[in-house]
């Protein structure tokens, strides 16, 4: 009986842990000044769509995107933004012309993203999981 209760408790504890998003081969990274160690998927999406602009401690979020031709951008758009590239481009077209917001700067590859994130307090970006993460902080992506 005790063993059953223990198993149930362990099971509940495991369920209450944040679920990691299966983000394929990408890693979410941030500037070392960012205090957060993990980000819920929906919050990460809001950061990159400029719908949320501050970290929980008040620091301004500086998202950096990759150009549409990189495979990591396509994975990120599907897994984190939960949209297609065409939908995201349509979103930004409407946002720009209506004056709502402008999209994050786009970098050509992982190295440029890493350099930007390393040098920009508050920055958040994503790179291929095989990239060297020297000088940046790896963030855990949680399922909501």
């Amino acid at each position: 009986m005790t063993r059953t209760i223990r198993r149930l408790l362990v099971g509940l504890a495991l369920l209450s842990l944040p679920t990691l998003v299966t983000a394929g081969d990408l890693v979410l990274i941030a500037h070392p000044s960012v205090k957060a160690t993990s980000v819920p998927r929906s919050q990460a999406a809001r950061f990159f769509l400029r719908q949320a602009t501050t970290w929980p401690d008040g620091e301004h979020v500086k998202p950096v995107d990759q150009v549409r031709t990189t495979s990591v951008r396509q994975d990120f758009t599907r897994v984190v933004l939960k949209r297609t590239l065409a939908e995201v481009e349509s979103f930004w077209t409407q946002a720009i012309f209506s004056g709502r917001a402008v999209p994050p700067p786009q970098k050509k590859n992982d190295d440029e993203v890493l350099a930007y994130v390393r040098d920009t307090p508050g920055a958040i970006g994503y790179v291929d999981a095989s990239a060297s993460l020297d000088g940046v902080k790896k963030l855990t992506l949680e399922e909501d």
């Binding site: 929906s42 809001r46 719908q51 949320a52 602009t53 501050t54 301004h60 500086k62 939960k82 949209r83 297609t84 590239l85 065409a86 349509s90 077209t93 409407q94 720009i96 012309f97 209506s98 004056g99 709502r100 402008v102 700067p105 786009q106």
Partner: protein, 371 residues
């Protein structure tokens, strides 16, 4: 002598380049300053002999548009949208050059930002993107809810632009993502006695607002309102009387990820109450649109839309409808091609489509290059 001039020219160029080093590029997509825009070329041809379309099949150098954004700091942004319409040539009084919007915005937080300047009236789905041809599928924005003065009404249900101060913001809650805008502005001056973006022609201000909620990731609901008191003039003199103007609307947008189909519904109602002294009747109006689309391979989108407008609910045979079907193709590199078939129908008492010219069809096409 020629060599000396060449040397002088080269020196000037080098001096200019040296003095400009490290400056923010004039054209760019950097973090603090960026320029976006588009160019659109359109074609319209009415298929019947009689109608209110274009029987000649004209090529329209529709728009060249620049959107400028400058982020002075993390909290302060300046934005402007400048257009050159129909091959503007002011020397000949042709076309139109316009500042669609120019405003500054300060963000206290995501849910509280203050914006001031000339702006699109924040109303419904289309008003803030009505000039932005890359931002919607069809060749033109809806007549029945956004361009009512071209569809049988004497006036628009609400003005397209306003000089205003608005509070706006967005956030996420248990019921979904939301955004809002509320504001106060000069309102319109339909008599054109003063520039409403510079000087209000009466003490009564216009009030406006919109709220949108996304209870599901691909479903958005919204409601808008606009109210104003329009000055009544007699021989260019303010009579002291006012016409009360109220517009209100609701919107719904819903789409699926796979298949990539979507639907968009919008309703706008209007109530225009002149003073009793004017002798003019009260006019209530209703306009609606319903649109469906299906995107194939993320690039090719067939679409269909139905538009309906009742300019005056007390008047019979003045209603107008537009049924259109078309194809929107994203050809790559920012190029969008649109082709469309439009069918207009209107009652004989409609203010624009008079008897004999109230049933016709048009083909429309557009090439839009966004950057």
């Amino acid at each position: 002598m020629q060599n000396f001039l060449r040397l002088c020219f080269a020196g000037v160029v080098l001096l200019g380049a040296w003095s400009a080093r490290g400056e923010v590029p004039i054209v760019g997509s950097g973090e603090s300053f960026r320029i976006d825009g588009y160019f659109s070329l359109e074609f319209e041809r009415q298929l019947e002999k009689k109608g209110r379309g274009d029987p000649n099949g004209s090529i329209d150098a529709d728009l060249f548009d620049l959107v400028l954004n400058w982020s002075a700091s993390d909290n302060l942004r300046l934005a402007a949208d400048v257009t050159w319409e129909h091959g503007a040539a002011t020397e000949d009084g042709r076309g139109n050059v316009g500042v669609e919007y120019a405003w500054a915005e300060y963000a206290f937080t995501d849910w509280a930002r203050i914006r001031g300047g000339k702006m699109f009236t924040p109303f419904g789905i289309y008003n803030e993107i009505h000039t932005a041809k890359p931002a919607f599928l069809t060749v033109k924005e809806p007549f029945s809810t956004n361009k009512t003065d071209k569809f049988g009404m004497e006036h628009r249900l609400y003005p397209r632009w306003t000089a205003a101060v608005v509070l706006l913001g967005n956030g996420a809650s248990g019921i979904g993502d939301w955004d809002y805008v509320v504001g106060i502005g000069n309102g319109d001056n339909e008599a054109g006695t003063a520039n409403p973006f510079e000087e209000d022609d009466n003490k009564q201000k216009a009030f406006m607002g919109r709220i949108r909620l996304a209870p599901l990731p691909r479903l958005q609901l919204g409601g808008s309102f606009y109210s104003d008191q329009i000055t009544e003039y007699a021989a260019d003199e303010d009579t002291g009387k006012r016409t009360a103007l109220l517009a209100y609307g609701g919107q719904l947008s819903w789409s699926l990820a796979s298949p990539a189909v979507g639907i968009e519904l919008e309703y706008v109602g209007g109530d225009r109450r002149p003073s009793s002294a004017s002798g003019l009747p009260r006019v209530k109006s209703n306009g609606a649109t319903a649109m469906v689309w299906w995107t194939l391979a993320e690039r090719i989108t067939p679409y269909a839309r139905f538009e309906w407008l009742d300019p005056d609910t007390e008047q019979s045979r003045d209603q107008a409808t537009l049924v259109l079907g078309g194809l929107n193709v994203k050809a790559g590199g920012g190029l969008v091609l649109k082709a469309e078939y439009d069918v207009y129908r209107a009652g004989s008492a409609n203010g624009r489509f008079s008897e004999g010219r109230n049933k016709f069809s048009e083909i429309k096409a557009a090439a839009v290059l966004g950057f």
